[in-house]
């Protein structure tokens, strides 16, 4: 799982029917200190996250284990909104 910040949304009209009703967000991976890391990823939102929020995203086949994503063509899902990261 990675930490990421929501930086935008994706709108798609023509898509797999199993993706209908799913919110797609653009994520920018961040370090635990909050610094931006390279790359972007499009992720399905299952927790009603908004732009600017820090989230936890899960990748791979585990992404389909999230609520409402069973048997859908999804490989990245937002599964939590981060309250706090504590580094020792």
């Amino acid at each position: 799982m990675i930490l990421a910040r929501v930086v935008g949304t994706v709108v798609a009209t023509r898509k797999d029917p199993r993706l209908e009703g799913k919110k797609l967000l653009i994520l920018k991976p961040i370090s635990p200190e909050g610094k931006d890391e390279s790359g972007y990823v499009v992720s399905v939102d299952t927790v009603s996250a908004g732009v600017g929020e820090r989230v936890i995203a899960v990748a791979g086949s585990s992404a389909r284990l999230a609520e409402g994503c069973k048997d859908t063509p999804v490989d990245n899902t937002i599964i939590g909104i981060v309250d706090e990261v504590h580094l020792d």
Binding site: I56, S61, A63, L65, I81, H86, D88
Partner: protein, 112 residues
């Protein structure tokens, strides 16, 4: 499976229901020589590991297996706490992270 060291933890209130009660820790991946490698990541914990401990973790769908039939949507999980690592007859001791407070005390103890 990969080696890593726990360096922090993550709090989240709004999350997938099946994640309720699971601890999420920040893990820094390590080489067999226990040197940092790659970017830190978030792992769920099935062992009760604490900050500073060297652990091993799994990646992929197998990461949800330790939690039984609830199958939480996780892709990285801590599945063991490392006691020691042996590489070609050399033993690498697993030491805790030196604390900042401890180093400053040591510095004070040194005579000028």
């Amino acid at each position: 499976m990969y080696l890593g060291r726990v360096v922090g933890c993550v709090w989240s209130t709004i999350k997938n229901q099946s994640l309720t009660g699971l601890r999420m820790l920040v893990v820094q991946p390590l080489t067999p020589e226990l040197k940092n490698t790659g970017k830190p990541l978030i792992c769920t914990d099935s062992t009760g590991a604490g900050t500073g401990e060297v652990i091993y973790w799994v990646r992929g769908k197998e990461a949800s297996f330790p939690f039984g039939t609830s199958e939480p949507p996780v892709d990285t999980t801590i599945v063991g706490i490392v006691d020691s690592v042996h590489i070609e007859q050399r033993a690498v001791p697993v030491l805790p992270i030196p604390r900042k407070a401890a180093t400053s005390r040591k510095a004070k103890a040194k005579p000028c």
